[in-house]
């Protein structure tokens, strides 16, 4: 069995697991990081979003093998940061969370977007979150939340 090494939420880890396992399952079942959710299992809904080297990916169609040598950030890792606090506050102010199943993924996608584009337009936010389905909100409150986060977190991204 190959040993696969990566950095998970700031810690170097090595696992000896089937390399074809979905990163999603490795995070949830092996590392018990259940903030990453499974909504569809086929890269449509984004509930399983994590950051690989700072960019959002769907961990449900990301094989563990491809994590080798990467920096992986899950919502649990992001939650320890100032940026997360800003995003969380902005989601609160704008009412961006309802049932919550898409919320960690939304926040990961927002983090990915803001880290590449700290001052996105509404349209850019819509594109940035277009891989994260939400059935509760109709998206507008989430779009506003990302916009508000960009303002409140000026200079952080």
């Amino acid at each position: 069995m190959n040993s696969i090494k990566f950095n998970l939420n700031g810690q170097d880890v090595a696992v000896e697991l089937n390399p074809s396992l979905r990163l999603l399952d490795v995070l949830r079942d092996h590392f018990h990081l259940t903030g990453t959710k499974e909504g569809c299992g086929e890269g449509e809904c984004g509930a399983c979003s994590v950051l690989i080297n700072g960019r959002v990916v769907n961990s449900c169609c990301f094989p563990l093998a491809n994590a080798n040598g990467k920096k992986i950030l899950t919502i649990e890792g992001l939650a320890a940061t100032k940026r997360y606090q800003i995003l969380k506050d902005a989601f609160h102010i704008e009412g961006g969370s309802q049932c919550g199943i898409c919320t960690p993924g939304m926040i990961m996608a927002a983090e990915s977007l803001l880290s590449m584009n700290p001052h996105p337009t509404d349209e850019e936010i819509r594109i940035g979150l277009s891989g994260n389905l939400c059935r509760c909100t109709g998206y507008n409150m989430i779009i506003k939340a990302v916009k508000t986060a960009a303002k409140l977190g000026e200079g952080l991204w």
């Binding site: 399952d25 984004g46 979003s49 769907n58 169609c61 094989p63 491809n66 040598g69 277009s130 994260n132």
Partner: protein
Amino acid sequence: MVRHIIPNNLNEALNFLNEGPFHIMAGGTDLMIQKRSTAGTPPKFAKDVLYIANLAELNYIKKDEAHRCIRIGAAAKLEDIYNHVDTPALLKDIIREIGSPGIRHSATLGGNIANASPAGDSLVALYLFDAEIVLLSVDGERIVPIKKFITGVRRIDLRSNELIKEIVIPIIPITAYKWYKVGGRRADSISKVSFAGVYLSNFGLVADIRFAFGSVSATVARSIELENSLKNRPIEQIIGDLPRILEEADKMISPIDDQRSNKIYRRKVAGNIMERFIKNIA
């Protein structure tokens, strides 16, 4: 027991491949879903798996001035291709509408080609530009034009000891281009019909014109014959030739009914798009 190989470099990968056969896994955004099993269990692979996503030798995008082309490594991510200054604008427009950011950050152009889906959007541009696929094995390189490389629905001309090394996209002079993606929604959708068209006009004369449809045939539909019949003609004449063009374009495609749309719609929309494209030549 299926083996999983994560090669350290390209040579190692080729040596493993030589002992093939392997499933070659790039970003995984198609293959992981096609082979998926119950949540929490590994995907079901019938063959050994070779992981190439992290091979640095396959991850590049560069302009080759000497050969007037762009060379894109098979493992280059769609998002990187989109962001690259030398990527043709048409291809950028196409990539921007493939999947979502989460998909584009791991999906590769090589994977999109190897997957050979009739609805593969990037393929439409590659057909249009007469892209070439550079295949690599321990025996050396083999270069195959895209339209030869893709032999049918999810069928490609890849030998068991080969992998896709790079995609060569010729740079051609263009006056204007048009891309239509008709999907179920405005993001994150599989095309019902797609169309790419380019032309080069000089002083009212069309010097070059190319167009291709996706999702309405087993593979991308392009007719060199029809294109040639329009070259070196005045724009007004081409527009005047619209009824024949539409009739011929209609023969290019053979759409089907499926869970996403139906053939009547696909045929009608393909015709509408073609009409709009021709009428807008200037």
